[in-house]
Symmetry: C2
Subunit: 182 residues, 2 copies
Protein backbone atom coordinates (compact mmCIF):
# COMPACT_ATOMS: atom_id res chain seq x y z
CA UNK A 1 0.00 0.00 0.00
CA UNK A 2 1.29 3.45 -0.93
CA UNK A 3 0.59 6.32 1.43
CA UNK A 4 2.71 9.21 0.35
CA UNK A 5 1.21 12.58 -0.51
CA UNK A 6 3.01 14.72 -3.08
CA UNK A 7 3.37 18.49 -2.79
CA UNK A 8 1.72 20.17 -5.80
CA UNK A 9 1.95 23.82 -4.72
CA UNK A 10 2.63 25.90 -1.64
CA UNK A 11 1.46 29.30 -0.40
CA UNK A 12 3.04 30.96 2.66
CA UNK A 13 0.45 32.73 4.82
CA UNK A 14 2.84 33.86 7.57
CA UNK A 15 6.55 34.14 8.30
CA UNK A 16 7.21 34.68 12.00
CA UNK A 17 9.82 34.63 14.72
CA UNK A 18 9.00 31.12 15.98
CA UNK A 19 6.87 29.60 13.23
CA UNK A 20 5.87 29.91 9.59
CA UNK A 21 2.53 28.82 8.19
CA UNK A 22 1.98 27.52 4.68
CA UNK A 23 -0.99 25.99 2.91
CA UNK A 24 -0.14 23.37 0.29
CA UNK A 25 -2.06 21.55 -2.38
CA UNK A 26 -1.09 17.88 -2.13
CA UNK A 27 -1.88 14.82 -4.22
CA UNK A 28 -3.10 11.70 -2.40
CA UNK A 29 -2.21 8.14 -3.45
CA UNK A 30 -5.55 7.88 -5.32
CA UNK A 31 -4.90 11.09 -7.29
CA UNK A 32 -7.20 13.37 -5.27
CA UNK A 33 -5.92 16.90 -4.63
CA UNK A 34 -6.35 18.08 -1.05
CA UNK A 35 -5.31 21.08 1.03
CA UNK A 36 -2.73 20.61 3.80
CA UNK A 37 -2.02 23.29 6.41
CA UNK A 38 1.56 23.08 7.69
CA UNK A 39 3.13 24.89 10.64
CA UNK A 40 6.89 25.07 10.13
CA UNK A 41 9.09 25.08 13.25
CA UNK A 42 12.88 24.68 13.49
CA UNK A 43 12.54 22.12 16.25
CA UNK A 44 14.17 22.01 19.62
CA UNK A 45 15.49 19.89 22.43
CA UNK A 46 14.58 18.78 25.91
CA UNK A 47 17.07 17.75 28.60
CA UNK A 48 16.39 15.47 31.58
CA UNK A 49 19.32 16.38 33.84
CA UNK A 50 19.88 14.27 36.94
CA UNK A 51 21.78 15.46 40.02
CA UNK A 52 23.85 13.42 42.49
CA UNK A 53 20.70 12.67 44.57
CA UNK A 54 18.81 11.20 41.59
CA UNK A 55 16.64 14.30 41.21
CA UNK A 56 15.83 15.96 37.90
CA UNK A 57 15.67 19.68 37.16
CA UNK A 58 12.14 20.86 36.33
CA UNK A 59 11.02 24.21 34.98
CA UNK A 60 7.68 25.81 35.85
CA UNK A 61 6.74 28.63 33.50
CA UNK A 62 3.83 30.43 31.91
CA UNK A 63 2.80 29.01 28.54
CA UNK A 64 0.91 31.75 26.76
CA UNK A 65 -0.77 29.55 24.12
CA UNK A 66 -2.15 27.33 26.90
CA UNK A 67 -2.97 30.24 29.23
CA UNK A 68 -1.48 28.42 32.23
CA UNK A 69 1.76 27.42 33.90
CA UNK A 70 3.28 24.06 32.99
CA UNK A 71 5.98 21.93 34.59
CA UNK A 72 8.51 20.61 32.04
CA UNK A 73 12.08 19.48 31.66
CA UNK A 74 14.39 22.30 30.51
CA UNK A 75 13.99 22.78 26.78
CA UNK A 76 14.60 25.23 24.02
CA UNK A 77 14.51 26.00 20.34
CA UNK A 78 17.28 25.11 17.95
CA UNK A 79 19.04 28.17 16.50
CA UNK A 80 19.43 28.09 12.70
CA UNK A 81 22.27 25.75 11.75
CA UNK A 82 22.69 24.38 15.27
CA UNK A 83 22.78 20.61 15.85
CA UNK A 84 20.63 19.19 18.67
CA UNK A 85 23.46 18.40 21.07
CA UNK A 86 24.82 21.96 20.82
CA UNK A 87 21.33 23.31 21.53
CA UNK A 88 20.97 20.95 24.49
CA UNK A 89 24.32 21.99 26.02
CA UNK A 90 23.46 25.69 25.60
CA UNK A 91 19.88 25.49 26.86
CA UNK A 92 20.62 23.46 29.99
CA UNK A 93 23.07 26.13 31.20
CA UNK A 94 20.78 29.02 30.24
CA UNK A 95 17.78 27.61 32.11
CA UNK A 96 19.37 25.87 35.14
CA UNK A 97 22.77 27.52 35.56
CA UNK A 98 24.46 24.11 35.51
CA UNK A 99 26.40 22.46 32.74
CA UNK A 100 25.26 19.04 31.61
CA UNK A 101 27.72 16.16 31.28
CA UNK A 102 27.51 12.58 29.95
CA UNK A 103 24.74 13.44 27.46
CA UNK A 104 22.73 10.47 26.16
CA UNK A 105 20.44 10.86 23.14
CA UNK A 106 17.06 9.36 24.06
CA UNK A 107 15.33 9.77 20.71
CA UNK A 108 13.23 12.14 18.64
CA UNK A 109 9.73 13.27 19.63
CA UNK A 110 7.16 14.36 17.04
CA UNK A 111 4.64 16.36 19.05
CA UNK A 112 2.01 17.18 16.40
CA UNK A 113 2.55 15.09 13.25
CA UNK A 114 -0.78 16.03 11.66
CA UNK A 115 0.10 19.63 10.79
CA UNK A 116 3.48 20.62 12.29
CA UNK A 117 7.04 19.96 11.15
CA UNK A 118 8.49 20.28 14.67
CA UNK A 119 10.78 17.54 15.96
CA UNK A 120 12.28 17.53 19.45
CA UNK A 121 15.64 15.91 20.24
CA UNK A 122 15.47 14.36 23.71
CA UNK A 123 18.56 14.04 25.94
CA UNK A 124 19.52 12.66 29.32
CA UNK A 125 22.45 14.33 31.11
CA UNK A 126 24.15 14.39 34.48
CA UNK A 127 24.54 17.64 36.43
CA UNK A 128 27.94 19.28 35.91
CA UNK A 129 29.48 22.41 37.37
CA UNK A 130 27.61 25.62 38.20
CA UNK A 131 28.27 28.52 35.87
CA UNK A 132 25.18 30.74 36.26
CA UNK A 133 21.71 30.98 34.70
CA UNK A 134 21.33 33.10 31.54
CA UNK A 135 17.63 33.42 30.72
CA UNK A 136 16.22 35.09 27.63
CA UNK A 137 14.83 38.55 28.50
CA UNK A 138 11.25 37.27 28.12
CA UNK A 139 11.76 34.09 30.19
CA UNK A 140 10.37 33.92 33.74
CA UNK A 141 10.67 30.49 35.26
CA UNK A 142 10.91 28.63 38.53
CA UNK A 143 13.32 25.72 38.99
CA UNK A 144 12.67 22.67 41.14
CA UNK A 145 14.07 19.14 41.40
CA UNK A 146 12.04 15.93 41.48
CA UNK A 147 12.84 12.24 41.61
CA UNK A 148 11.75 10.00 38.75
CA UNK A 149 9.02 8.51 40.98
CA UNK A 150 7.74 11.99 41.88
CA UNK A 151 7.68 12.95 38.18
CA UNK A 152 5.85 9.71 37.33
CA UNK A 153 3.21 10.41 40.00
CA UNK A 154 2.79 13.97 38.68
CA UNK A 155 2.22 12.62 35.15
CA UNK A 156 -0.32 10.04 36.32
CA UNK A 157 -2.31 12.59 38.36
CA UNK A 158 -2.17 15.24 35.60
CA UNK A 159 0.13 17.85 37.18
CA UNK A 160 2.57 17.24 34.30
CA UNK A 161 0.91 17.20 30.85
CA UNK A 162 3.72 18.41 28.58
CA UNK A 163 4.25 15.86 25.82
CA UNK A 164 8.06 15.85 25.62
CA UNK A 165 8.33 15.65 29.42
CA UNK A 166 6.14 12.53 29.50
CA UNK A 167 8.07 10.96 26.59
CA UNK A 168 11.44 11.72 28.18
CA UNK A 169 10.36 10.29 31.52
CA UNK A 170 9.27 7.10 29.78
CA UNK A 171 12.60 6.85 27.94
CA UNK A 172 14.74 7.61 31.00
CA UNK A 173 12.84 4.95 32.98
CA UNK A 174 13.30 2.42 30.17
CA UNK A 175 17.01 3.29 29.88
CA UNK A 176 17.52 2.72 33.60
CA UNK A 177 15.40 -0.45 33.62
CA UNK A 178 17.39 -1.93 30.72
CA UNK A 179 20.72 -0.98 32.34
CA UNK A 180 19.65 -2.71 35.55
CA UNK A 181 18.64 -5.94 33.80
CA UNK A 182 21.78 -6.24 31.64
CA UNK B 1 6.65 34.66 41.88
CA UNK B 2 4.13 35.72 39.26
CA UNK B 3 4.42 34.26 35.77
CA UNK B 4 1.28 35.12 33.91
CA UNK B 5 1.35 37.01 30.64
CA UNK B 6 -1.64 39.23 29.84
CA UNK B 7 -3.11 39.53 26.35
CA UNK B 8 -2.91 43.16 25.20
CA UNK B 9 -4.02 42.78 21.58
CA UNK B 10 -4.53 40.07 18.96
CA UNK B 11 -4.25 39.93 15.18
CA UNK B 12 -5.44 36.89 13.20
CA UNK B 13 -3.11 36.06 10.30
CA UNK B 14 -4.97 32.93 9.11
CA UNK B 15 -8.27 31.11 9.60
CA UNK B 16 -8.09 27.54 8.27
CA UNK B 17 -9.77 24.15 8.24
CA UNK B 18 -7.55 22.62 10.92
CA UNK B 19 -5.81 25.58 12.55
CA UNK B 20 -5.94 29.34 12.99
CA UNK B 21 -2.90 31.52 13.54
CA UNK B 22 -2.87 34.73 15.56
CA UNK B 23 -0.11 37.05 16.72
CA UNK B 24 -0.70 38.71 20.07
CA UNK B 25 0.97 41.47 22.01
CA UNK B 26 1.32 40.26 25.59
CA UNK B 27 2.50 41.88 28.80
CA UNK B 28 5.07 40.00 30.89
CA UNK B 29 5.16 40.04 34.71
CA UNK B 30 7.81 42.81 34.62
CA UNK B 31 5.67 45.02 32.34
CA UNK B 32 7.56 44.31 29.09
CA UNK B 33 5.40 43.96 25.97
CA UNK B 34 6.32 41.00 23.77
CA UNK B 35 4.93 39.29 20.68
CA UNK B 36 3.43 35.79 21.03
CA UNK B 37 2.60 33.63 17.99
CA UNK B 38 -0.27 31.24 18.75
CA UNK B 39 -1.54 28.31 16.67
CA UNK B 40 -5.15 27.60 17.60
CA UNK B 41 -6.37 24.01 17.29
CA UNK B 42 -9.65 22.49 18.57
CA UNK B 43 -7.80 19.55 20.10
CA UNK B 44 -8.38 15.89 19.69
CA UNK B 45 -8.19 12.47 21.23
CA UNK B 46 -6.10 9.32 21.08
CA UNK B 47 -7.36 5.83 21.93
CA UNK B 48 -5.23 2.87 23.06
CA UNK B 49 -7.64 -0.02 22.35
CA UNK B 50 -6.68 -3.47 23.62
CA UNK B 51 -8.00 -6.71 22.15
CA UNK B 52 -8.59 -10.04 23.89
CA UNK B 53 -4.95 -11.08 23.22
CA UNK B 54 -3.51 -7.97 24.92
CA UNK B 55 -2.65 -6.36 21.60
CA UNK B 56 -3.28 -2.72 20.75
CA UNK B 57 -4.53 -1.29 17.45
CA UNK B 58 -1.91 0.84 15.69
CA UNK B 59 -2.33 3.07 12.67
CA UNK B 60 0.41 3.64 10.08
CA UNK B 61 -0.24 6.65 7.88
CA UNK B 62 1.42 9.40 5.91
CA UNK B 63 1.96 12.60 7.88
CA UNK B 64 2.35 15.36 5.34
CA UNK B 65 3.93 17.95 7.68
CA UNK B 66 6.61 15.40 8.63
CA UNK B 67 7.00 14.05 5.08
CA UNK B 68 6.99 10.45 6.32
CA UNK B 69 4.79 7.66 7.63
CA UNK B 70 4.26 7.40 11.36
CA UNK B 71 2.90 4.66 13.61
CA UNK B 72 0.39 5.95 16.16
CA UNK B 73 -2.60 4.93 18.22
CA UNK B 74 -5.90 5.75 16.50
CA UNK B 75 -6.64 9.44 16.98
CA UNK B 76 -8.71 12.26 15.62
CA UNK B 77 -9.81 15.84 15.89
CA UNK B 78 -12.64 17.00 18.08
CA UNK B 79 -15.61 18.31 16.08
CA UNK B 80 -16.90 21.70 17.28
CA UNK B 81 -19.00 21.23 20.43
CA UNK B 82 -18.03 17.57 20.84
CA UNK B 83 -16.74 16.33 24.21
CA UNK B 84 -13.61 14.15 24.23
CA UNK B 85 -15.31 10.84 25.01
CA UNK B 86 -17.77 11.30 22.13
CA UNK B 87 -14.84 12.04 19.80
CA UNK B 88 -12.99 8.97 21.08
CA UNK B 89 -16.00 6.66 20.54
CA UNK B 90 -16.52 8.01 17.02
CA UNK B 91 -12.86 7.96 15.95
CA UNK B 92 -12.08 4.44 17.16
CA UNK B 93 -14.88 3.01 14.98
CA UNK B 94 -13.97 5.19 11.98
CA UNK B 95 -10.31 4.15 12.03
CA UNK B 96 -10.43 0.51 13.20
CA UNK B 97 -13.96 -0.68 12.42
CA UNK B 98 -14.41 -1.82 16.04
CA UNK B 99 -16.35 -0.17 18.81
CA UNK B 100 -14.49 0.60 22.00
CA UNK B 101 -15.86 -0.40 25.40
CA UNK B 102 -14.85 0.25 29.01
CA UNK B 103 -13.23 3.61 28.19
CA UNK B 104 -10.77 4.92 30.79
CA UNK B 105 -9.58 8.54 30.67
CA UNK B 106 -5.78 8.49 30.94
CA UNK B 107 -5.20 12.25 31.04
CA UNK B 108 -4.57 15.29 28.88
CA UNK B 109 -1.50 15.71 26.68
CA UNK B 110 -0.18 19.15 25.72
CA UNK B 111 1.99 18.46 22.69
CA UNK B 112 3.44 21.93 21.97
CA UNK B 113 2.82 24.29 24.91
CA UNK B 114 5.16 27.02 23.62
CA UNK B 115 2.98 28.22 20.75
CA UNK B 116 -0.05 25.91 20.26
CA UNK B 117 -3.38 25.67 22.10
CA UNK B 118 -3.90 21.99 21.19
CA UNK B 119 -4.78 19.56 23.97
CA UNK B 120 -5.25 15.82 23.41
CA UNK B 121 -7.59 13.71 25.54
CA UNK B 122 -6.06 10.26 26.01
CA UNK B 123 -8.18 7.14 26.47
CA UNK B 124 -7.76 3.43 27.07
CA UNK B 125 -10.51 1.12 25.79
CA UNK B 126 -11.23 -2.55 25.25
CA UNK B 127 -12.15 -3.88 21.81
CA UNK B 128 -15.90 -4.19 21.28
CA UNK B 129 -17.96 -5.47 18.38
CA UNK B 130 -17.08 -5.05 14.70
CA UNK B 131 -19.20 -2.55 12.81
CA UNK B 132 -17.01 -1.51 9.88
CA UNK B 133 -14.35 1.11 9.17
CA UNK B 134 -15.49 4.56 8.00
CA UNK B 135 -12.44 6.57 6.97
CA UNK B 136 -12.49 10.20 5.90
CA UNK B 137 -12.12 10.48 2.11
CA UNK B 138 -8.54 11.76 2.48
CA UNK B 139 -7.43 9.10 4.99
CA UNK B 140 -5.21 6.23 3.85
CA UNK B 141 -3.98 4.07 6.67
CA UNK B 142 -2.77 0.62 7.57
CA UNK B 143 -3.90 -1.12 10.76
CA UNK B 144 -1.77 -3.47 12.82
CA UNK B 145 -1.83 -4.81 16.37
CA UNK B 146 1.06 -4.82 18.82
CA UNK B 147 1.59 -5.87 22.42
CA UNK B 148 2.58 -3.27 25.01
CA UNK B 149 6.12 -4.73 25.09
CA UNK B 150 6.38 -4.52 21.29
CA UNK B 151 5.19 -0.89 21.39
CA UNK B 152 7.69 -0.09 24.15
CA UNK B 153 10.54 -1.60 22.11
CA UNK B 154 9.43 0.41 19.07
CA UNK B 155 9.49 3.62 21.14
CA UNK B 156 12.94 2.89 22.56
CA UNK B 157 14.44 2.11 19.14
CA UNK B 158 12.75 5.12 17.47
CA UNK B 159 10.21 3.38 15.19
CA UNK B 160 7.46 5.15 17.16
CA UNK B 161 8.12 8.88 17.72
CA UNK B 162 4.59 10.30 17.93
CA UNK B 163 4.24 12.23 21.18
CA UNK B 164 0.72 11.19 22.21
CA UNK B 165 1.50 7.52 21.43
CA UNK B 166 4.51 7.58 23.75
CA UNK B 167 2.54 9.37 26.49
CA UNK B 168 -0.38 6.94 26.20
CA UNK B 169 1.92 3.92 26.35
CA UNK B 170 3.51 5.31 29.52
CA UNK B 171 0.08 5.89 31.09
CA UNK B 172 -1.33 2.49 30.09
CA UNK B 173 1.76 0.78 31.53
CA UNK B 174 1.45 2.78 34.77
CA UNK B 175 -2.29 2.01 34.97
CA UNK B 176 -1.62 -1.72 34.63
CA UNK B 177 1.36 -1.64 37.04
CA UNK B 178 -0.70 0.14 39.70
CA UNK B 179 -3.65 -2.27 39.23
CA UNK B 180 -1.29 -5.22 39.69
CA UNK B 181 0.26 -3.84 42.90
CA UNK B 182 -3.05 -2.92 44.61
Amino acid sequence: MKYDEKQISTDYKYHGAVINLRVDQAQLPDGQIVQREVVEHHGGVGIAMEDEEGKFFMVTQWRYAQNMTTMEYPAGKREPGEDDLTTAKREIVEETGYEGTDFVFLGTNIPTPAYDSEQIGMYYAKKGKFCGQNLDPDEFLNLSRMSLDEITDAIVDGRIQDGKTVAMTFLVREMKRRENTK
